[in-house]
Symmetry: C2
Subunit: 632 residues, 2 copies
């Protein structure tokens, strides 16, 4: 089994953008070399060249001849594209991991690279050595500290402890301030610590980020279902519930505070952080989530003329909300703009820095409530659209949240009878999450199993009728983690069509109102936890996203959570957020006469007007090349 190393040629493969090099053996594919070297590259079809997940871009070097599969993907994605699972090296080479492959890392990249902020949290520590009192200097304990800090505002809880702390610590203390307000005083020590938590409060999912406020370091991320879901899946049904009685309102408020406290507890437990050292919580959410958090039922948001209860930035003592951090600390919420353009959109805009571009740019936040923002000619237009929870895996027959065992990626073989998939954590599949649903529908369309109208056709062995409804079997009983088939039903497809039509029609309507040609858009930012995990290529195939060139798309990840984090870490941004919120012009889509028709046109896959998706349709043809055309 010995190999003659002298005659055996190894190639060096340099990988951009980070510049890592790996050794590639001549007999192994690039994918095998990458996986062997510990570089995680998605592959759904198991190296069959179908899924396109391992697409790489060749910068220099000589490779094996492209296979038939690769040629199809080159037509779809560009001639410099190769599939790592198909290609072998013939020389040293330099490749770029395509953005498709990068997707999984974007969340971290966004934190470290995209949001350039100066660490300047509102909550700070100041170490002070006080002069000692005497009969000649009888200045009071509190005023001794305030004078040293050059401030005169303080939290009243400090009155109880100030004397004990400064005398016991021999007048060597650390002050914790929120802006100019003295929140707390603790003995000086080497292991002093100070934390903050930012939250993305989604209608369906709540994500918390624990930060070290002294270093800006992200220590942990935890997420959980929003416990309000038991009172209704969407904001409208929750508003109806909350408006029925004061008790219901308190239940709704209690549910989100319970969710927040649970996440804080988990964050603290994992990192061994004392929750009393957390002094700041910044929450980003849509207008209704923000209102519920602060105890308002949002009743008048839900009916014409759609008046939100409040839109200002809010700062509340943690003890007033029973949020379990230091009771002198604050819970803050972002400014909102209107009943349906909330702090989460302001956060997206801050993170994308969309307002700084001269050229037309756009942003789509994909969530239970989707939002579209277009900046053109010094104006920022925004509209919201009720996408519903389908894209987050909720309300779909076998839909689930993006957690272990969820099918996150899908490919369907040329004949439509074989399904390749990848689950989170590589466990046996127990359901399908949002990104899996998008890819499944995209491949059903590519393979012609679903037609332009979204109708399931009975041209695959996997399409069958149950209870008078057509469904496509993704996973059979044998391979399923639940012991039951995992399917996508005609009803599921209809829900996804409505969800994606809501987003696409909002974009098209807003682009017309803002006089923006889609081809002129220089950047299209995609936000939302879900928006971070989908493959824009497939999102265009189903017409969830408008057709723009791949390189213009920037997935900013959870813009809401990142925005909240940025505001936690930067008081300048906290102030800037008010200005940003003021600049936004809200478009009420329901008042735009053409919107209804735009919505209907957008339910087609990708759209009724094929001229809007020319390149996408060409890609579909490329991937089908050499296959019979199932669909007219």
């Amino acid at each position: 089994m010995d190999i003659d190393k002298n005659s055996y040629k190894l190639y060096a493969l340099r990988i951009l953008p980070n510049g890592t090099s790996v050794i590639v053996k001549p007999e192994e594919t690039i994918l095998e070399a990458l996986l062997r070297s510990g570089i995680s590259v998605a592959s759904v079809c198991g190296g069959k060249g179908i899924c396109g997940k391992c697409a790489i871009r060749i910068v220099s070097g000589s490779l094996s001849e492209p296979t038939l599969q690769e040629k199809r993907w080159q037509k779809a994605l560009g001639l410099d594209i190769r599939l790592a699972c198909q290609a072998n090296l013939l020389s040293d080479a330099v490749i770029e991991l395509s953005e498709t492959i990068e997707t999984k890392n974007i969340k971290i990249l966004t934190l470290g690279k995209k949001v350039q902020i100066n660490l300047s949290p509102s909550t700070t520590r100041k170490s002070i050595l006080l002069s000692k009192p005497s009969l000649e200097d009888q200045k009071a304990d509190l005023e001794r500290v305030l004078a040293e800090l050059n401030t005169n505002t303080f939290d009243s809880l400090i009155l109880e402890k100030i004397s004990k702390v400064i005398w016991n610590s021999n007048f060597n203390v650390s002050a914790i301030l929120f802006d100019d307000e003295l929140l707390d005083v603790v003995p000086n020590s080497d292991n002093f610590s100070l934390y903050g938590v930012s939250f993305d409060i989604g209608t369906t999912t709540v994500v918390g980020y624990l930060y070290d406020l002294l270093t800006g370091e992200l220590l942990s991320i935890k997420s959980s279902f929003n416990e309000q879901i038991k009172f209704g899946e969407d904001v409208i049904s929750r508003i109806e519930y909350a408006s029925r009685s004061y008790e219901n309102l308190k239940n709704i408020q209690g549910a989100i505070i319970s969710t927040i406290n649970k996440i804080i507890k988990e964050l603290a437990k994992e990192t061994n952080v004392d929750t009393s050292k957390i002094y700041d919580v910044v929450c980003s959410g849509n207008t209704v989530m923000t209102a519920f958090l602060l105890g308002n039922n949002s009743f008048y948001s839900s009916r014409s003329p759609y008046i939100p209860p409040f839109t200002s930035q809010v700062k509340v003592k943690a003890r007033d909300l029973k949020v379990e951090i230091n009771p002198s600390g604050y819970v803050r919420t972002l400014p909102c703009v209107s009943a349906y353009i909330g702090g989460d959109v302001v956060a997206d805009i801050l993170v994308s820095e969309l307002f700084k571009y001269e050229d037309p740019v756009a942003l789509i936040d994909l969530g239970t409530n989707g939002e579209v923002v277009i900046k053109n000619l010094n104006e920022i237009f925004a509209a919201s659209c009720a996408a519903g929870p389908a894209l987050e895996g909720y309300s779909i027959r076998h839909g689930m949240r993006a957690m272990e065992g969820a099918i996150e990626s899908v490919t369907i073989s040329e004949d439509g009878n074989e399904v390749f998939f990848k689950t989170i954590g590589n466990r046996k599949p127990v359901g399908i999450c949002g990104s899996g649903i998008v890819e499944a529908l995209a491949w059903l369309r590519i393979r012609g199993i679903v037609n332009k109208s979204g109708k399931l056709l009975e041209n695959s062995s996997r399409v069958k009728k149950e209870n008078n409804e057509l469904q496509f079997v993704l996973v059979d009983e044998k391979n399923s983690g639940t012991g039951k088939e995992i399917v996508i039903t005609q009803e599921d497809i209809r829900k996804v069509q409505l969800a994606k039509a809501a987003v696409l029609s909002a974009f098209i309507t807003l682009s017309k109102i803002s006089k923006t040609k889609v081809e002129d858009v220089k950047k299209l930012f995609i936000a939302g936890a879900f928006g971070n995990y989908i493959d824009p290529f497939y999102a265009m195939i189903i017409g969830l996203l408008p057709e723009v060139q791949r390189e213009k798309i920037v997935q900013i990840g959870n813009g809401s959570g990142m925005g909240a984090s940025s505001l936690l870490l930067s008081k300048e941004l906290w102030r800037e957020s008010i200005e940003v919120a003021k600049k936004i012009k809200v478009v009420e889509l329901n008042l735009v006469p053409s919107f209804r028709q735009e919505f209907i046109n957008a339910t087609f896959i990708p759209h009724k007007d094929e001229a809007l998706f020319q390149r996408t349709l060409k890609s579909i043809s490329s991937l089908r090349e050499g296959e019979k055309n199932y669909d007219s």
Copy 2:
């Protein structure tokens, strides 16, 4: 029994300062005429001319010849003085009720006359008619209100209710503001009301004043023992208790908050006021009482170098202290100056307006902790003295608070064997309150039953020994409301001597430090609830107050409570109080080398140095004239 009305001459008696006229029959004394006409005049000795309580000043008219008793009082108080119980009219006449008689009304006079303030409470109402929202005007509910009020600060509790209130009231609402902060919004109505409560938090007694903040009207006054008494009678013992454990501290804080809540409840019940319409509570108290209220144990106040925990004005949300008013309202405390010069002294200074005088002026606050303030040469000096609770009726064998059944006034017959007294509410006596104790000691001294050193002499049938201690029987078993004798013991007299020496020696020491001659003092303000009820004449006889001319003395009543009330009603004064507090120079008497000796000298009655009380000693002689001299 018929009287010939034609030959029967009735005289008209006009009474200054208010100008009321009454008819006087020739055979009745002026006292009888006054009482018959419903004018309340004090009389302790029952018309025997001994007590001097019914002294009047003659402005014009002809009266019967002065009796022997009257001649004595004329020597003591002035030649224009007559005793209403002794004099008959011989013509129409004009008299002035002496300040001695006015005493009982001073409290009300102080409220209405002495404190001239412009009604400008920090807590205000603003009635607003909002424009109605529409699809063209989607401004949020809160921001609609804030814009109308031209502010952007608000209490977070308003977020819960704002929408409901403004929509249900058809956008016709009243805003309640604290300065610029929006506290609450309620539907507009004709019977809108807005209240505030001011508190004098004494070590022994707490007094609450309920005000209508729209009119400035005082609606009710209620007082109660400070529930902290169960943890110690004076501040030092309470500090010791509170410093022993966190639980004790919470007990101390809980006791004062419970006292406050009890008084608020009583005030509200009596006036039928809804406590949720009370939005502001201003508390005046000494530094330790203020610290306890806000949860600090004041430990370092009680030992050298006597450092108070804080001295700033404090503003705390009522909900944070569990004070039972509107939870969005505030509890505020006055600025303090040092560990023993507290907000109550600042209040006294504000009420007396002492800081506005060019000439030397002084202020003495009589309470468990006494304070002395002297303004001279543009400087304000202040010192505190631990008088103890004796002058408030506490710690005296049969001492009690000034309530029904308490002996408030005392006279002793020439032979020293008969005691005349008056009780509050004219009930059977059950004990003796502060003013009664002062008068009893004064008469014991006048009658020579107590000597200059404070020793009880066995020269009256009422002096007897029990358990080896001398005591003077004020009331025998038969006439007592308790069925037991009411006595003043030698020990009681010693306690009063120590209390009065603390005050007098503080005054003398401070006058030396401030280079103020007592005879140059243009006004001597007497503050403190107890200070309001004592007769300055007798207070000088025992040497509790320094000897100044009677007309220079201004009893300002409960300066602490009045000061708190003024700050409740005037935001200008609230700001001014900070400046006043800054101007005060605190003198630590314990650090003044001569103080110890001054204190000892001041324990004599009235003082060891008789030159300091020449006029007073002359008055004593006058009242004794014709009697044998018991005492050298």
